[in-house]
């Protein structure tokens, strides 16, 4: 199925969870926060939250800023 991660279309497996996507992106160990359709999925739920067709996912981290 197709999801949109950080603005880019991406194919993921039918049963994919948030953690699977992060693993594919090599972000499994990164300090990052994930939002699916504008709702935060806390880290504890990354391995259980199933993605759905068309989900819009934001994966963010901390960068320099003022």
């Amino acid at each position: 199925m197709t999801v949109v991660a950080n603005g880019e279309k991406r194919e993921v497996g039918e049963q994919a969870k948030v953690a699977d996507l992060l693993g594919e992106l090599k972000l499994g160990t990164a300090a990052c926060a994930v939002e699916v359709n504008k709702k935060i999925v806390p880290k504890l739920q990354h391995s259980t939250h199933a993605l759905a067709e068309g989900d819009r996912i934001e994966i963010v981290t901390l960068v320099g800023g003022g």
Partner: protein, 293 residues
Amino acid sequence: MSTIEAKLSTQAVASPEDRLVIGERAFVSRLIVGTGKYATYDLMRDALAASAAQVVTVAVRRERLYNDQGQSILQFLDLSRYTILPNTAGCFTAEDAVRVARLGREILTQLDNSGASWVKLEVLGDKKTLLPDPTGTLEATRELVADGFQVLAYSSDDPIAAIRIKEAGATAVMPAGSPIGSGQGVLNRNNILLCLELLKEGDPTFPVIVDAGVGAASDVSIAMELGADGVLLNTAIAHANDPVMMARAMHHAAVAGRHSYLAGRIPKRLYASASSPWEGTISGVPGTVIPGE
């Protein structure tokens, strides 16, 4: 003495342990510094150390999905030393600012940093001036406070806007000295004084932090001498020719300005007031007669 001068010479009582208190947190340093715009993370780390700041701001941005070789700012921030203050920079609506604040909280919770429950709220009104959107800021403040955040809200130096943000539940109000990154310093000292007076009326410990516009160390001292509790800056250090030396200067300026404020300045006068006594001068002073001549 004019009203302004009276304000400038307001006496404050120095407590033995003078601390910047924001919500439940207390800090020795009154500088809050940003982590943006540095040429390298190494330089940032050294400048932060030289500033002696205990609170540093960061932004929340999308992960780069295809270039995982880049360094993370977190490798260069000693989380046991700094309280991280995530910002909502780049947000132009209350809705976006609330989302970004929650994402920042989610990351800082994972890192077990004490900054998890607070946010530097910026809801911008315009990309060119980066001036705050007053209604969006109020709306986001209310929503974030209801969600358990301690909100440090970036504001214009309009005293009424500042007081409304406090009424909305902000933990600290941060009026701008001048536009973000402009280096113009404190453009309207009277407005900062009015912000301080209104925000601290009946609530003298309410933290007021001058945020944005600092160009040089003297700007920090001026803000502190006016009675601000702290100063937040980024560009003036990061883009100085020697960021580490400028960071050190900013630290000294904050201390100097704070001490100057606590010590209580003299009133401004139109005429001079001699520091050496007139009595016993051997030369003639116009309008007076030397005894014995």
